[in-house]
């Protein structure tokens, strides 16, 4: 009794037919896969593997080269920026120092001229005092003695 007859005896028709088709399908697939050529595939894979490894190595070299170039360029730019900043700071400090010296000199000149003006005023006041002041007549002397310096009796 073959497989088909066995199945037909065991099941109703659609299930037996489906199982028979299923087995035929698996057999066909398995036969095709079993008899497919294999040697060519393995050689191809090995060659492809070398090619892949070489291209990976080249890509890694290129990537590391460009990374190193970028880092050198960045370092150079940072150095340049630092030098420019140092120069600018030194220039600013010199300017500040000159301004401070100028203001100190101006202050001294101002103080000297103020002292001169004070002395002039003192002299003027002394002149005015001497011009304005008069000797008290003799007849007024007793009255003058009654008045003290604050002007109170």
């Amino acid at each position: 009794m073959n497989f088909r007859d066995k199945l037909a005896g065991e099941f109703e028709d659609p299930v037996a037919e489906a199982l028979e088709n299923f087995k035929a399908s698996v057999d066909a697939w398995s036969d095709a896969a079993y008899s497919r050529p294999r040697t060519a595939v393995s050689v191809g894979v090995r060659r492809g593997g070398w090619r892949l490894a070489a291209s990976w190595a080249l890509a890694c070299m290129l990537a590391s080269g460009s990374l190193a170039g970028w880092m050198v360029e960045r370092h150079h730019q940072q150095e340049l920026a630092r030098t420019v900043a140092m120069k600018a700071a030194a220039q600013k400090a010199a300017q500040d120092r000159a301004a401070a010296e100028q203001s100190a000199a101006a202050m001294a000149t101002k103080q000297q001229s103020a002292a001169k003006a004070n002395a002039k005023n003192e002299d003027l006041l002394a002149t005015v005092d001497s011009d304005v002041s008069r000797e008290v007549p003799a007849a007024m002397e007793p009255l003058a003695q009654l008045v003290n310096d604050n002007g109170t009796e």
Binding site: E17, A18, K23, D31
Partner: protein, 182 residues
Amino acid sequence: MTVEAAEEIAAQEFASIVESHRPQIFRFLLASLRDVDLAETLTQECFLKAHRNWKHFRGESSAMTWLMRIAINLQKDHWRNRRLQFWRHTQANALDVDEASDWLPNGERNAEQQILAREQVAQVWKAVGSLSERQRTVFLLRYVEERELSEIAQATGLSEGTVKAHLSRALGRVRAHLRESR
């Protein structure tokens, strides 16, 4: 008989076993895994293991049943390892149901019968995909490899009663899928 002569005979015996049983082991693994490369790898592993243990084969069961037992264990190990794998390459390589059901022998069928047969095969594949690992193994051994229940029991290490129960459940699924497709 010298030791060399005995070894020579054993090697010839093993070579003939490989030649006669290799296509069946490959077919069983292909149907179980739906992955040609993986089925080839596991078939090779199966015969490598068999070669290592050929001295210990006592002939208590047929060579085919013994080989099938090794193949089932390898397949079990594969599924167990795959569950633990983080990247599941094998799933990506496995053929889907529609592709697997494209394979049909060119018998004396017209176009309509071919389409109907393909649809039936696809439904059986779907049912097989929904089975547990043990049910699938039992189902494939019975309806693809055409093994007797006693042989299936020996190859799987189950009792005949358990084999029958698994087959019954598997057939229930196949029937349900075929009914749904009508």
